[in-house]
């Protein structure tokens, strides 16, 4: 993977078309099973969706909790699907992942997850989902190019999950004019937004829901 190519997730651009899910499921290494999924932010009040790919943590919690030592990180920092001979299908990683990425495929007794299309990106091509995303919610490219094209956003790769600070290889686009130290992964669980309002209190050090209101 070229060092300057990075993956950016821009949630507010997601239109929920699920092209990424179908493109992902086309891949020969996991045919018929999508490793990306679409999450609804607040389904009762909004149609806003977020694509969820593996964020490729620099300290992968899934690998730390794996009792079978099956989850490995490649030399260029990508966390791979569990190794088939080792995975014991205990689902520890599924429970531990802050982003809800690993999938337990019970028909194979194997945890499978997004590996940022290792087969494609290692030969210089874009990941499947970033290739098909019509709105640019999933973007794979040089950081300079993305920052030049998205004047109102800036990439952030620091997250807070309870007491744990997570640094990831994949970047989440956040508003440029509201600098935040980190994104709070679980904030949306605690502070349910008022009806009609989809701004969530996930940008720590940014304005709270009450201030926006």
């Amino acid at each position: 993977m070229p060092a300057d190519m990075e993956f950016f997730v821009d949630p507010h651009r997601c239109i929920g078309c699920r092209a990424c899910e179908h493109a992902c499921a086309e891949c020969e290494t996991h045919k018929g099973h999508s490793m990306i999924h679409i999450e609804y932010i607040e389904r009762s009040t909004s149609v806003q969706t977020v694509p969820v790919v593996c964020m490729h943590c620099q300290s992968p919690t899934c690998a730390d909790v794996c009792p079978a030592d099956a989850i490995k990180r490649s030399a260029d920092g990508r966390v791979m699907t569990a190794r088939k001979p080792r995975c014991i299908a205990c689902s520890n990683c599924v429970l531990a992942c802050p982003f809800g990425v690993p999938k337990m495929m019970s028909e194979f007794d194997l945890m499978m997850k997004c590996d940022m299309c290792y087969d494609r990106t290692s030969t210089g091509r874009k990941p499947m989902c970033a290739t098909v995303c019509p709105s640019g919610a999933l973007t794979y490219g040089p950081r300079t190019e993305v920052e030049a094209l998205r004047k109102r956003s800036k990439p952030s790769n620091t997250f807070r999950f309870g007491e744990q600070t997570i640094t990831t290889k994949v970047h989440m686009m956040v508003p440029r004019d509201r600098p935040a130290a980190h994104l709070d992964v679980t904030a949306a669980l605690d502070d349910r937004p008022a009806a009609g309002l989809i701004a969530l209190n996930v940008l720590v050090d940014g304005p709270t829901v009450e201030e926006v209101r």
Binding site: S59, D69, K72, R73, A75, D76, M80, R86, T167
Partner: protein, 180 residues
């Protein structure tokens, strides 16, 4: 100590690896540091490879190349004078796919062998000054007297071609692949 293009591992407490608990060094997450071969993988490898070898031996015994069976034609090789004169004559027997060598080891002592080395079927080269047939591929040698292996990887003798001398003419009358 990560090479260019590598993403160094960052631990949750941002301390270097020597300050981490032992289990992190015993079970590294990064692929380049992970040289552990699980017992299950190792046992699977042993069982599958030895099973494949055993199955291959059975297959060879059952479906291996059938030895050439007669009746063989009676083919003229050369006249006895010509063979004694040239000492080595190449001919094809029993069909054109089997190159053979007829050797003259002395007056009236004629032998003939298939030319394909019993190791990997390279063509053997006669070296009658040393009394042997030499295979250049892996430095195998067969004695000229009986065609038996004396050096190198071949374990089986060269196929024997039966000769018959009648009225001063040498005829090939049989082809015998040998295992011992």
């Amino acid at each position: 100590m990560s090479a260019p293009g590598e993403d160094p591992r960052v631990y949750p407490d941002h301390q270097p690896l020597p300050d981490q608990p032992h289990w992190r060094q015993d079970f590294p997450t990064d692929v380049p540091d992970d040289d552990h071969v699980a017992r299950r993988e190792f046992v699977k490898f042993l069982v599958l490879t030895s099973g494949a070898f055993a199955a291959g031996q059975c297959w060879l015994a059952l479906a291996g190349p059938a030895p050439a069976r007669g009746p063989f034609p009676r083919t003229r090789v050369a006249t006895a004078i010509e063979l004694e004169d040239r000492r080595v004559i190449e001919f094809r027997y029993p069909d054109e796919h089997e190159p053979c060598l007829a050797l003259s080891l002395g007056p009236g002592r004629y032998v003939a062998y298939g030319q394909k080395c019993s190791h990997l079927a390279c063509a053997v080269i006669p070296r009658l000054d040393r009394g042997e047939l030499h295979c250049p591929c892996h430095n195998g040698s067969f004695e000229a007297e009986g065609g038996r292996p004396v050096a190198g990887p071949p374990r089986r003798p060269l196929p024997l071609v039966h000769l018959e001398v009648a009225d001063g003419v040498v005829y090939a009358t049989g082809f015998e692949p040998r295992t011992i």
